[in-house]
Structure formats: C-alpha cells, structure tokens
C-alpha cells in the first residue's frame, strides 16, 4: 500500500468534548496501516499532553497515558505550538516526557515532542498529503 504523510491537528483539550480521544483513535488506526503519521498540538490541544492529569475526580478515563504508547507505533513526530504554550502560561517542561526508541541509532531513547513556532508548523503542514483537524 502506498504510504502517505498524515498530520493530525489537535486543537481542543481532552475531556470537554470527544474530539481529543477520537483523534487519538484515528491516529492509532493510521499507524496500524503503516502510514507516515505526525501530530500537531495547538490552541487548547496543548493541554492534551500536559504532565500530571488526574481524572479520578471526574470519573473519566485518563487516556493521556496512551500518548506514551505512540512511540511503539512509530509515531514520533509530535509538534507542539510554541505560541499556544506561551499563551497558556505553559512551557515544554510542563508536558509529558514522550519518547521513542530509534531503531536506526541502537534503539536509543529520544524525545518525540518538538516545540515549534507557527512559522515552522506552517512549513511542516505544507509537506503533508493529508491534514485532519480535531
């Protein structure tokens, strides 16, 4: 099967709507079909990967833990909007330490998250075959 470059734009926080968890489902499906998958987190979507989410108090599934599995599905291009972080008083150190093992580099553990400016994101998006916004 032909491989395409898919980018998923995550623009909403995790629990107020169903967008975030639905995006994650579709991302995993694309990975199962061995597509070239990238994720972008912008606007309130940056809250999806904030470290230390505790959902016991609201009785919802804490699917933030699933992001740690993405590396095992060869999904290791997670771009986070610098502007969106800053607007929300957040920085890279507030995000979950998401990593993957690089098979081309003796399985060394490397960070999957890259904080990028909107200009950089613009360039990355223009390289995609498909962009899906959630």
């Amino acid at each position: 099967m032909a491989t395409k470059k898919f980018m998923y734009l995550n623009r909403r926080s995790s629990f107020g709507t169903v967008y975030a968890i639905e995006s994650l489902e579709v991302v995993l499906i694309a990975a199962a079909f061995e597509q070239d998958v990238s994720l972008a987190f912008m606007d309130d979507g940056v809250y999806q990967i904030v470290e230390g989410q505790e959902t016991d108090g609201i009785g919802m599934k804490n699917f933030s833990k699933t992001f740690h599995a993405l590396g095992d599905y060869d999904i290791n291009k997670l771009y986070v909007s610098k502007e969106s972080l800053e607007e929300r008083g957040l920085s890279e150190s507030d995000l979950m330490p998401l990593v993957y093992e690089d098979e081309d580099d003796d399985w060394e553990e490397k960070p999957s998250i890259r904080v990028v400016t909107n200009d950089e994101l613009k360039a990355i998006m223009s390289e995609q075959d498909v962009c899906l916004s959630f």
Partner: protein, 98 residues
C-alpha cells in the same frame, strides 16, 4: 447569582459574555473546560479583579484532570462537588454559560 462557565476562553466567548453581564454580588464557578480560565495564562487579566474579591471558584476534579493544579491564577478558590452544591444554595439563581 451563580454563573458557571464550562468553556475555555481560548475556544469560545462564554466567559466574556458572562463578564459582560455579571453584577457586583455574583460569583463565577469554572467547571469542565472552563477551568482552563482559572489557569495563569494570557487571558488571566479577564478575571483578576473578580478573583481578588474572592468571587471566582473552580471545580477541583476538573482542575486535576487537566493537570493544571500548580498553574492556577492568584486567588482562585477550589471547590469539590459538595462545595458546588453549597454555592448553588448560597447564591440562588444559577446561569450556565454553555
């Protein structure tokens, strides 16, 4: 009156609409994605004065779910579900800015 806001001000204008019409004795309770408005961020000035007067609350479970417990703006009061009920009883008419 009790005003509940369940949307992020980065996403919708619910908080602004609430602030446009809130009187001097009413309080705001942030629930669901509304708790994003309780974090220290670029929009915090919207609620700074109200919070300084002790009139801004946030639902603790929703704050914890979003990992922003350590990121709250000044003077935000956290309440649990029982505290939510107390606010309803104390302030009478509730407006839900969905």
């Amino acid at each position: 009156m009790l005003h509940t806001v369940n949307k992020s001000s980065f996403e919708r204008n619910s908080l602004q609409s609430c602030l446009n019409t809130i009187d001097d004795t009413s309080v705001i309770l942030f629930i669901e994605d509304g708790v994003i408005n309780a974090a220290n961020n670029a929009n915090s000035s919207m609620i700074a004065d109200l919070a300084a007067n002790g009139r801004v609350f946030a639902l603790q479970g929703d704050v914890e779910a979003r990992g922003i417990s350590s990121k709250l703006a000044d003077n935000i009061k956290l309440v649990d579900y029982a505290g939510f009920v107390d606010l309803v009883v104390e302030h009478g008419t509730a407006v839900s800015w969905v």
